[in-house]
Amino acid sequence: MAMTLSAPLRRRATTALLLVPLAAYIIFLAFPLLWLTSTSFKRPNEILVLRPTVIPKAPTLDNYREVLGPEGVVRASLNTMKVAVASAVLALAIALPAAYALARKQSRLNKAIIGWILVSQSFPSILIIVPLFLILARFSLANSHLGLIMVYVVWSLPFVLWILHGFVKGLPNELEEAAAVDGASFPQILFRILMPLLLPGLATTLLYAFVNAWNEFFFALVVLKDPQLMTVQVSLSRFRGLEGLARWGPLAAGSVIATLPAMAAFAFLQRRLVSGLLSGGLKN
């Protein structure tokens, strides 16, 4: 009798005991974003105080108004959006036929391609950016969005190819074979039969590539010099000094804006995250 009474009690006690470290983890991981968001709605006199509060006492939209005005965050975000979308779409278009070949056709090339995927993931970007910068400069593409788009396409290709090939592999072979027996040509098979089935995989891969390009900093820092062309990450990184702290409110508002697209994409991707991750390399 005593046993049957204490068992559920003990289980409840264990659960409570687990919640304490879990809460510590959640605070550690999520609090900085909550703090950033809260700061973005505060007035300057509420930001640099000795006893800050999580919920602003006098919430304001001034920071957003300011940062969306002459601060250039809108332009920088549009620049980033353009570069990220273009590079993600291009990378996908280039990688799709290759992903099909990698998943479906046995050939000696496959080993070379997989070798390249692995090597390109482990090389430090400094080694590739110096000659890449020189090549771009030779074609007058340094300091241009087109140049940065090309860099991002090549940079994201390895993992785009890897994830896509996983999705192609997951499709049943019989459909293609039946279509081939019926006399369908290869482009017909690719676009009529495989594409519709691949759409969820394509969407996932596109979002990965988009988020990676949206968040990227190093290449954008090296390739773009003109403030008019800068991406949102580079333009925000320029606010670091004392001046940045004095203007922390607008900076926090800009940071929230710059985080939103990646967060939205992640919320959407969340369910596919693990399978996509295990099937291929993913940059962090």
């Binding site: 391609i113 430090p124 400094i126 090549i135 990450q233 967060m263 962090n284």
Partner: protein, 303 residues
């Protein structure tokens, strides 16, 4: 008879060649940009590491002069030592803390689905924003950390975490762990879910405690995932740039100048592109060595 056999023999290599051409045409759109913007620059980058190339003057082959210069370059040694401390502590911290969090999220706790989403937050954020947020958390006057520690009575005077010689590296490492924790947790959690419950129950029936079940049943089954995750994290962390660039720009006095930051400043601030490429070559050697070592050990461990 002989004629047909001959034509079959003729047709086989032709069919193979046509097949190869077909495969090649599928790869072609990929191969051209990859060759032009990845393979050729990579080879060129490795080559530049053996020259005295500076922006504006022609590159001259100088054998191993760059590497000889590194041996006497105090900044090089500091930077790579920092790189190792950073890489090992961040990777280790991610795996250990990630395992703890994955175990918690694998247990029966209320609102588990919500927690599993919330822990992903740092992963989705751009590295620059992460750096900016933590600069504010660490700020000496208005920072959250000093405020919390002082009001809890742990600290008497505020510390300038990112500028203090005793604290800068630890502070940066903590942010590194914070950044990588979501990914490590998600991977480890998916690994935990593949461990069959029957094995743990059998061990429990044999009288194994919770810790012993974890140590002798769960952990050995997770070993391949842990090795793969640590190798990837090792590479990523060793090549890390944006986060620390925004946090400290390598300061104070080069204390947190990771190898990538060191190479970036050499190449793009001082214009020593040859030396920067040489630093990149050394990084490749180090990464290659560690990954090979890891793969060998894993191969030896599994048979």
């Amino acid at each position: 008879m002989r004629a047909t056999a001959g034509s079959v023999q003729m047709a086989a290599p032709q069919a193979a060649r046509r097949r190869l051409l077909g495969v090649l045409s599928l790869y072609l759109p990929l191969l051209i940009p990859v060759a032009a913007l990845s393979l050729i620059p990579l080879v060129q980058g490795i080559w530049l590491g053996f020259t005295d190339y500076r922006l504006g003057s022609p590159a001259r082959f100088n054998l191993l002069a760059n590497y000889a210069r590194m041996l006497g370059d105090r900044d090089f040694w500091t930077s790579f030592r920092t790189g190792f401390v950073w890489t090992f502590t961040v990777t280790g911290g991610e795996i250990i803390l990630g395992m703890g969090l994955a175990l918690l999220l694998n247990a029966r706790v209320p609102f588990r689905g919500l927690w599993r989403i919330l822990i992903l937050i740092p992963w989705a954020m751009p590295p620059v924003i992460k750096g900016l947020i933590w600069r504010f958390v660490y700020h000496p006057d208005a920072g959250l950390l000093n405020y919390a520690l002082i009001s809890l009575g742990i600290l008497r005077d505020p510390i300038n975490w990112l500028a203090d010689f005793g604290w800068a590296l630890q502070s940066v490492v903590l942010v590194g762990i914070w950044t990588g924790l979501p990914l490590a947790t998600v991977v480890l959690l998916s690994g935990l879910q593949t461990v069959p419950d029957e094995l743990k129950e059998a061990a429990a029936l044999d009288g194994a405690s919770g810790w012993r079940q974890f140590r002798y049943v769960t952990l050995p089954l997770m070993a391949p995932i842990i090795v793969a995750l640590s190798s990837l994290e090792f590479i990523w962390n060793f090549n890390s740039f944006g986060l620390v660039y925004v946090l400290t720009e390598g300061g104070p006095a080069g204390l947190t100048r990771l190898p990538m930051l060191f190479a970036y400043f050499e190449g793009f601030q001082y214009g020593n592109l040859g030396y920067a490429a040489a630093l990149g070559n050394v990084m490749v050697l180090i990464i290659g060595g560690f990954v090979l070592y890891g793969v060998r050990r894993q191969g030896a461990a599994t048979g």
